[in-house]
Amino acid sequence: MERSMTRRAFLKKSMAATGLTIAVSVTPFGFKLLNASGKGQIEGFEPSAWFEITPDNRISITIGPSEMGQGTHTSLAMVIADELEADWSLVKVHQGEARKAFINPILHSQLAVASASVRGFYAPLRKVGAAGRAVLVKAAAATWKVPEKDCEAINGLVRLKKGNQSLTYGELCLKAAKLPLPKDPRLKKESEFRYMGKFIPRLDIPPKVSGKAVYGIDFKVPDMLFAVLDRPPAYGAKPISFDQKAAEAVKGVKKVFPIPQGVVVCAESLDAAWKGRDALHVKWDKGALPEMDNAYIEKSLMADLDKPGSIAENKGDAKKALLGAAKKVNATYFVPFVAHANMEPMNCTAHVRKDGCDIWAPTQGQTVPQMIASKITGLPIEKIAVHTTYMGTGLGRRAAPDFIIEALIIGKVLGKPVKVIWTREEDMKHDLYRAAMSHRIEAGLDDRGRLTAWSHKAVAGSIMKDINPKGIKNGVDIMSLWGLLDFPNSIENRISYDIPNFLVHFLISDLPIPVAPWRSVQNGPNAFVIESFMDELAHAAGKDPLDFRLEALKTNKRATRVLEAVAGIADWGKSLPKGQGRGIAQHACFGSYLAQVADVTVNEKDGTFKVDRVFAAVDCGPAVNPFNIKTQIEGAIVMALSTVLREEVMFSNGGVKSANFDDYNPIRITEIPDIEVHIVKNNDKIGGIGEPGVPPLAPAVGNAIFNATGARLRRIPMTPERVLEALKA
């Protein structure tokens, strides 16, 4: 990725008529293509993405969504370059600035979340590439005075079919720039794809391997100050006193002041800022809930299960069906708070001036920070520039604007560029966690062991109260229920099974712990519960867990196909040595279908286990970048396994006790299983790929432990103590 090009630089460049610039705009009515060559800003036209071909035969592609390791920049460039029939070696990708035009058509915001970047931009970017190919061919035909059908675009050239004449895109671009674009350019057939579906090395690897890639924390502006905060140790805690004079006396400290987020120390260097903070000696009050610790949290969430809650879905008559069921099964599950623990701690550089504002941040979102900055600074939106850097993972955490807001507040006070850096401890203690959840389910089977009724109650803190409060209807936070239910206009995060009598209750927990999306959002916790419980039901029905699921999926073809595929590659049904077990699980989210089989070896003496192998089958529709699909799923499996093994945020005295990687210890290289990912070919609707690998893993492992030992784990992390306890149960 090149340093992002500003709007002005882009327009200036295209004003200079340097080549062919084609842009696409996604409107509610479809895609609008535009030949923007040499035209500068066109009234009312906001391109969502564009590429530019210059006479020096270079192709630069500008893309809106952030690159946080998920491979989007490469995958989206592959889509354009393929339809354009460009020479990949000449392609450069730029991160786009914050622009209305980069708004993702699925999300209605410029935001890299919900595994939505490729699935949101796949269709428009194919069009923009195809339009480019069409005018380049037309320009060549005009040059040679031959019909267009005698010319073909091949790998960055237009060639005369008979004879050996050819022109490069660079040579053709000025001529092509003067041509009107076809309204509906012909898209390639799959057999014509040059890049999509093939192995293409990631564009961001060379700068990342050399050490030259610039992340948010690396960014520098001349005359920049550094700011650090002393933050409240407990939720709701307020400073009683702090030693402002002592902090100001530290060499290099420029300014000390309180803001709602904490006490700020600004200094000429990071070292001075930290030393100033040490000198503050802030005394904090006890906060909102000083008695809160992990036991309190678990008790509170479990007690909430006995409260009425709101009905989130009521299909058929679950109560009646349960009364009439031949067999009833019930269980209670719990999932704790887990941290994002992004490798790069939160940070943001901001420069608030009277005439404008610049934000340089490792951010998953651009639209929201731009709007917030406009409010904080009082400047119009177009005076707010959001420059997105590389980021040391995003995982959903960087979709929240909290770390940008405080930099803007501080920047406004200083009137100078300022970089706010969080320490690992601040990042761990002031994360917006994956919501802890308690669940109680009762389900009924008929006399042939078929699933007929499902009554479910779930409790969690609200994710939407900060990001979409109006979306909370009747006390139901649908994002907390993703995996079970989805918004009324979507089924992509809905339970895959067709259950005739289906009742879901939800209650928002009032614990003061902030929560946010965490890779796959609550699909992760909810799939753990649903797919572990499906295993309990299969056992109660006396059926094979695979057969029981296939039966309950009924007409869900895509979920059926991935389950059958994973059973095939894993050789489901083969016998295993004593002490070993295997479990299966499936889950669909963000438009993609995943099934996994996990093989485990359990030591029944000490309760430890090792996940030996994980097989995964995925159907994400058109597989734009198969290597990236595989590595994203590998990564998701590893991260999910980390939450199965030991991740759990610890709380005490009304705040967070976990502080660093010594007491919050993610999975290591020696703990990972062999992973085999199989892509189920399908040209159905395109799905996302960054997150859907997470949800099936925890239940597949829990089901494997059950298969090996008969012990049912209804809580993660599955620590040796919990495994021993389950063995005794």
Binding site: M68, G69, Q70, G71, P201, R202, D204, I205, P206, K208, V209, S210, G211, K212, A213, V214, Y215, I217, D218, K220, S269, L270, D271, A341, N342, M343, E344, P345, Y390, M391, G392, T393, G394, L395, T423, R424, F627, T631, Q632, E634, G635, A636, I637, V638, M639, S642, N660, F661, D662, P666, I667, R668, I669, T670, E671, I672, I675
Partner: protein, 153 residues
């Protein structure tokens, strides 16, 4: 003023002796390839070579490295078997931890002749990658070893 040698270049640094080397590299010398991850030596993102041995730069101070030879990711040659393997095997996702991971691996591979992949992998269990690229790292480790053998290093 404390003198140190980084990537073959001599520097005079005007910073307190107790400043962690990590922040000297990043803030004083502008070598931001070395990353801050935890500050307590737990994650490995800040790993550099001090006189050829892997050290967590967050946990050694400027005065500890006075007069010593330091190599950072920027100083590891672009054709080093580890960098080549990381590119060939496409190990990297977000990339933040990888400079430290590569530096630790480069040092381990230097420790003796004929490194064994399994032993090296075991010795890499003190680095953290939140993207979960470990499966690709394992391939990268094997490829780096093969390249070293081929190149007779």
């Amino acid at each position: 003023m404390i003198s140190l040698s980084v990537n073959g270049k001599d520097y005079q640094v005007n910073a307190p002796g107790d400043t962690p080397l990590l922040w000297v590299l990043r803030e004083e010398l502008g070598l931001t390839g070395t990353k801050y991850g935890c500050g307590i030596g737990e994650c490995g993102s800040c790993t550099v070579h001090v006189n050829g041995k892997a050290e967590r730069s967050c946990s050694v101070s400027l005065s500890d490295v006075k007069g010593k030879k330091i190599t950072t990711i920027e100083g590891l040659p672009e054709d080093h078997p580890v960098k080549k393997a990381w590119t060939q095997e496409q190990v990297v996702q977000c990339g933040y931890c990888q400079p430290g991971v590569m530096m630790q691996l480069a040092s381990l591979l230097d420790e003796g002749p004929n490194p064994e992949a399994e032993k090296i992998i075991d010795a890499m269990d003190d680095v953290i990658c939140r993207c979960g690229t470990y499966a690709r790292m394992k391939r990268g480790i094997k490829t780096a070893i093969q390249t070293m053998r081929k190149e007779g290093k």
